[in-house]
Structure formats: C-alpha cells, structure tokens
Assembly symmetry: D2
Homo-oligomer: 122 residues x 4
C-alpha cells in the first residue's frame, strides 16, 4: 500500500522520468553520476546556511528561503531518479533504515545527546 501508483514518490518518479526522456538525458544518468549530482545539489543547499547562525526562516528571509526550497527540490529530484535507476523503493528504504536506527540509538540511552552511536559502545 505504501507504493500505490499514485503515491507522492511515485508521481515524482514519473514526473522526473518524463522530463529526462524529453531531453534524452537518460544516457548521462548512471547511478554514479546521479550520486555525484545529488551531492552537488546538497552542497548548494548547504551553501545558503554556511555563514548563518542557525538558518531559521526569519534569519534566511523570504528570498533565500525560496532558493533553499528550489535546492531541496533538486536534491529530491536526483534522489528519486537514483532510486528509479537502482529500483529502490524509497519509502520502504526509510522504514527499513529506521528499524536499524532504533536499535543503534535506543531512546532511553541517547536522549538529548547527539554523539554518534559508536561513541556509546565505549
């Protein structure tokens, strides 16, 4: 049910597929290239925040928030595209990863602490 044909993520996948096919860009979309493009877009997103204190909406301002929204869209587009090429169900992947995260970071043990899980093993 998570993957109904009309789910958000499936509709985005279709939208991106159409855009790519119209431009004959599939030939450039190896998983390696897409992972690279995804990282570049994430860094472009980060660039908007790098000299700010925290980057909340009031510190960003409306014009920058609009640019941030567009960079976030670019990140999602490449992620959805990579998932398409590798036949990954993104929703199921998050559910699967969250099970691992719950085991690695037991709530009662890590509450209010941001250290990585392996730092707890010591």
């Amino acid at each position: 049910m998570t993957n109904a044909a009309d789910s958000d993520l499936n509709r985005l996948r279709a939208l991106v597929r159409t855009f790519v096919d119209e431009r004959d860009w599939d030939q450039f979309h190896t998983p390696k290239n897409l992972a690279s493009a995804l990282t570049v877009e994430a860094a472009e997103l980060l660039e908007h925040f790098q000299w700010l204190q925290h980057g909340g909406p009031e510190e960003l301002g409306d014009a920058k928030l609009r640019e941030v929204r567009h960079e976030m869209a670019d990140v999602l587009v490449y992620l959805v595209r990579l998932a398409d090429k590798l036949d990954v169900d993104l929703f199921a992947a998050v559910e699967e990863k969250m099970v691992l995260n719950r085991a690695k970071y037991p709530a009662e043990q890590v509450r209010g602490d941001s250290r990585k899980y392996y730092e707890y093993k010591k």
Copy 2:
C-alpha cells in the same frame, strides 16, 4: 490533493518527528545543522560509487546495494526533516522547480546534451 495527510512524504515526516522527539534531538536540528547532515549523508552515498565505472546494480552487487539503499534513506530522512523545520512542501517544491527547469532547458534545444543551461546563452 498532493498533500493529503496520508501521502508518502507526510507519513515520512511523522515517522521522523516521532523518532526525533523520543530522543529529544530537536534541539540539534537547526536548518543549518540539518543541511550539513544532509550533505554528509549524500557524500556517504557517493562514496560507494567513487571508484566504480557506472555503479549499476550488477557492478554494485547485493551487499553494497543494501548499503546504498540505507544511505539513500538517510538522505531522505534529513531532507524531510529540513522541510518540516522550514515548513516546505517538498512535492510542491519539485513541481515549482520543474516549471523553472523546463524554461531553462527547452527539450528541443538541449536534447542529448548535458551542458548546463547557461552554456547555451553564449
């Protein structure tokens, strides 16, 4: 309609919220920190591909593909969380960005060419 309470992206947002609240980690989740974490996860995803030829499923192999799926999940989790903190509708953001992309990269002009749109202006 794109944002029905039970859409994929909204359900992921709720899932991540619960995970964060149980650990009292909201205090670390400034937009700036989340953009940083998102970039780090994207790079961890990229790391799996960096010495490969193209990174298709057969070149990756099953074990690496599983790790790749988990890194993709991490990217999506931070993206969904950042969207939550900045009150961004990710689906609408992609739709909005795709309109801009269609204007910047007219299909008939860029077909089969990967150069950036500004290289066409010359």
Copy 3:
C-alpha cells in the same frame, strides 16, 4: 620560485605519487574520480562538526581533533593528486584566485559582512 622542487606542495605530490604507484592505483585516478573522493573526504571532515556549536579545539577535544587532522590530510592528499593529474600549480592557483577575490570583495565594501559578492551588485 614558488615552485622549487623542494617546496611543501611538491614534496607532498611526490609522496602521494609514490604511495599510488606502489599500489598501482593510478588507473582509478581519473580527475572525475579524484574530485569525487575529495568531496567525500571533505564531508567526512564536516561530519565531526555537524552537531557542534562552533567546533573550536576545546569543544572538539583531543581525540576528535586527531581524527579531524587526519580527515584534513585526506582532503589535501586528494587535492594534491588532482593537481598532479591536471598539471595545476596549486600555489599559483591560489595567488591567481586571490586577485579575483580582491576584486569581487573590496575590503572597504564588505568589511564584517559575509554575504556573497553578487549580493552587493544589487
């Protein structure tokens, strides 16, 4: 003179060359792959700072500072290697870029302000 055979950067280049040749890894070192590896190492460096306030030595602590130093070394190794493959003189490149930076960010105009140069054009 900046590029005497015994300059720091030239000695690092020689050191990395030897390490790579001993392992027959040159075949993997396309500029594209090296730029990817460089970005991955930069993100691994960033990971140490992502939940900190500012990341000064006292907040990092000695153990993390040692890891940070190693990640910085990795970044420099890949940068020096990429420069070697593209025949770039890193010292001269910085000198050349600093001339451009001085023109883009005139001291008297940007003092104490972190906005990007293009925001001044408005």
Copy 4:
C-alpha cells in the same frame, strides 16, 4: 624543517590571514563554518566533472580547466584557513596519515584493487 616560515603552506596561511583580516571576516570563521565552506567548494569542483567521462584536460577544455583551477584554489584556501584556526600543521598531518594508510593498505595486498581496506579484513 618542513615548516620553515617561508614554506608554501605557511605563505598561503599568511596570504589568507591578510585577506580575512582586511575584511574583518574572522568572526565568521569558526571551524564548523570553515568545514562547511570547504565541503561546498569541493562540491563546486566536482560539479565540473559530474557528467564527463573521466575529466582529463582534453575533455575539460581550457575554459573549464581554468574554472577547475579556481575551485581547487578555493578548497585549498579554506583548508589552510581551517588548519590555521585549529593549529594544525598540514604537512605533518599528511605525513602522519600516510603512515596509517601504509598500514591499512599494504602495497603487496591491495595492488590494482580499489576496495576499501576493511573489505580485506573479511
């Protein structure tokens, strides 16, 4: 001797210090912010290569190679600046890291193979 006052890396450190001080930008240069800026510059460098085959000089072309050289300069500037703020001797850090790398990737064992060292442990 590696750190003579007139070594390449020390001269770059002085050059960057002067540039920053003239602009009163030291206030923005927390190690955390510099690690972020370094990652962003690395990704801007990567962007030039992401749709190319290998990114050699002939595939890049002269105009792109010039831009690549400038992005490499930006990476080095932020790395040198971060080293300055954390009192890290970059040359010594590489020497130290190379000793670890030699132990992790014994030449006779990894020759011609790009897998990460931990994949050999299995």
